[in-house]
């Protein structure tokens, strides 16, 4: 077979074999491990490069210093994106700049993980223009939460590649020595997850919990962002999963409305388990407008006809105790009388 033909033949083969993979979910990557048919990007090794980019809100250069210092302490090299220190109003650069920086991090084979500098708002403005083709072939860790939920939902649901839901640069303590235990623990949980360590988190007893055991792939993130993706190409797929949600600064009525959206868009009916993280609720200014239901009542009302375990006050959210979770990895959830245990399988 002449060289030219062979090349064409190989190209043809490649495209033939890629199509069914694309349809049924991606598997069998050169270096990724699988978990419940999700691909886990490779564990980070000392000397690997971590990229820092800000695809949502703007951050000052000094805002990433403590994170940069810690990552270096952990043995990683850094690649600082040009969105760091860039500002376009509330955004970390205009849409083109944020897109370009993130795309560059995704496509650079040296970069093994991308730590988003902070949340804010901005990812839905560019999500449909990000080219994930290289990322799909060579998955790497995407790290962040809040607005970064857009990436978790999009990547987990469309490509079945795992991502890390955790604190970002703006939550690293300024000085390690004076940091509180919980600050250190939560930041170190990012290191542990990147290094592929088996992690286990606990939450205390909560009277509204529904006891039970579940084993399944974990997905989730910021509730408002999850609702905002309903009906779009980036919509979260919760079927057969353990779902976690968190939010901050929302009124109870708004939380109620968002849980109705989850329920009516079918996201609560086939869960393995539900984890409710932190919800710092915005109080109604007018006491006569009290919503009349608690967060726990709002949630349980929507899931009362199901029997999967539900736990409240889990240490994930816009708060100090926000531990790193791997969206797309398998976990065991034990909601017991004494408290909740979440263990990565």
């Amino acid at each position: 077979m002449p060289l030219m033909d062979r090349k064409n033949f190989i190209t043809r083969l490649a495209s033939v074999s890629l199509i069914p993979l694309g349809v049924s979910g991606f598997r069998g990557f050169e270096s990724g491990r699988e978990s419940g048919n999700f691909v886990l990007p490779p564990v980070l090794q000392p000397g690997d490069v971590v990229g820092i980019s800000s695809p949502s809100g703007y951050i000052l250069q000094k805002g990433i210093l403590s994170a940069a210092h810690q990552l270096q302490e952990w043995g990683y090299k850094l690649k600082i994106g040009h969105t760091i220190g860039k500002r376009h109003y509330t955004f970390g650069g205009n849409d083109e700049e944020r897109l370009k920086d993130f795309q560059n991090m995704l496509d650079d084979p040296e970069v093994k993980a991308i730590l988003c500098a902070r949340g804010g708002y901005g990812l839905v403005r560019i999500i449909d223009r990000i080219d994930f083709s290289k990322f799909i072939r060579n998955p790497k860790w995407i790290i962040g939460f809040s607005d970064i939920t857009v990436l978790h939902s999009h990547i987990n649901s469309k490509f079945r590649i795992a991502t890390i839901h955790s604190k970002m640069c703006n939550s690293f303590p300024d000085a390690w020595d004076t940091a509180t235990e919980i600050q250190k623990e939560t930041i170190l949980s990012i290191r542990d997850v990147l290094a592929g360590k088996k992690v286990e988190y606990t939450a205390g007893y909560h009277p509204a919990n529904r006891k039970g055991y579940a084993k399944g792939v974990l997905v989730g993130g910021n509730l408002r962002t999850i609702e905002n993706l309903a009906g779009t190409d980036s919509e979260i797929d919760t079927e057969g999963k353990i779902l976690f949600v968190e939010d901050v600064g929302e009124y109870l009525y708004s939380i109620d409305r968002m849980f109705w959206n989850l329920k009516r868009s079918g996201k609560l009916s086939r869960l393995k388990g539900l984890i409710v993280g932190g919800f710092r609720i915005k109080p109604e200014e007018d006491p006569d407008s009290a919503f009349g239901m608690t967060l726990e009542e709002i949630v349980m009302e929507k899931v009362k006809e199901f029997d999967y375990p539900v736990c409240f006050n889990f240490p994930v959210g816009h708060q100090r105790d926000n531990f790193a979770l791997v969206c797309g990895a398998e976990y065991e959830l034990h909601v017991k009388e004494s408290g909740t245990l979440l263990t990565k399988v």
């Binding site: 509330t90 409305r257 968002m258 959206n261 009516r264 009290a290």
Partner: protein
């Protein structure tokens, strides 16, 4: 909603020659956010829907709560003998659910608070009177140079942006293909308006529109870190890629300027250089 606040509304409806049945949820002694418990609100709307004497239901106000009970409402009698349901804001849930799922038209228009003895001759209220008496309406408003000119016809759908976004992915999701969409909102942050419009865009709701009517976006707020555009700039940025006729600042809003429109009705929208005309084509 307090009874005193619906008095002007009752008077004016009586002046128009109608008799008024006031529901139990009006003037209730509710201590919560809602005008009554879910059961009380459901019983009241069900009673109004099933009562053959009642020919139209005017929602006293918006707020939040219809989404909690919409799937518990029994529309069986209403389907056999449809009647007008009038309101806006949270009542967008009706405008999405009833025309979308039951194929019965509703009226997006002024509620009790818009009725006042001092301002009873305004075009918005008079248009509601006209619609209720079965007459066709045509609204003519000045055009703006940034409107996208053109003429289209189609079914009118829409309402409050936050509610339309909230219904995405649910069985009451608004279908917009080949239709004229109208949107309005109040009190939202710019970034949140942007986020909701991206949700509509990414769920394909702008792809096959016949035309777009942007109503009032009042009391829009900005965050400490500014969004970088005002509401007009934000809207123009979202819609710059589309070719269908677009009209900005149409008087459908949370303000006094709120023309009643028939959701599910067939309309003609003419966006000219000087004038915008929105004309209903049928009324049955």
């Amino acid at each position: 909603m307090e009874t005193e606040r619906v008095q002007d509304c009752i008077h004016l409806l009586q002046e128009w020659g109608y008799r008024v049945k006031v529901g139990k949820t009006v003037g209730g002694n509710s201590q919560t956010y809602f005008s009554g418990s879910d059961e009380e609100r459901l019983a009241d709307i069900q009673d109004m829907l099933d009562n053959e004497e009642v020919k139209a239901i005017l929602c006293a106000r918006g707020g939040y709560g219809l989404g909690r009970i919409i799937y518990k409402i029994n529309f069986k009698k209403f389907k056999k003998s449809p009647k007008w349901i009038i309101g806006f804001s949270d009542n967008t849930v009706f405008h999405a659910y009833i025309p979308g799922r039951l194929k019965i038209a509703t009226i997006h228009g002024p509620m009790a608070a818009a009725f006042s003895d001092e301002d009873k001759e305004n075009a918005y209220l008079l248009s509601l009177k006209k619609l209720l008496s079965g007459k066709k309406t045509a609204y003519r408003v000045p055009s703006y140079d940034y409107n996208v000119t053109g003429t289209c016809t189609g079914e009118l759908v829409g309402g409050n942006l936050a509610l339309i976004a909230h219904l995405c992915g649910t069985p009451a999701d608004v279908q917009t293909k080949g239709k004229i969409l109208f949107l309005e909102d109040i009190g939202e942050y710019l970034y949140n308006i942007d986020r909701m419009l991206y949700q509509l865009k990414h769920s394909g709701k702008f792809d096959h529109l016949a035309g777009l009517i942007l109503g009032g976006f009042s009391d829009i707020k900005d965050t400490t870190r500014p969004f970088g555009k005002d509401i007009l700039g934000l809207l123009q940025d979202i819609f710059k890629e589309y070719q269908f006729p677009i009209c900005y600042h149409f008087p459908i809003s949370h303000e006094r300027e709120n023309f009643p429109v028939v959701v599910g009705g067939q309309y003609e929208l003419k966006v000219g250089k000087k004038e915008v005309v929105l004309k209903i084509r049928n009324l049955e």
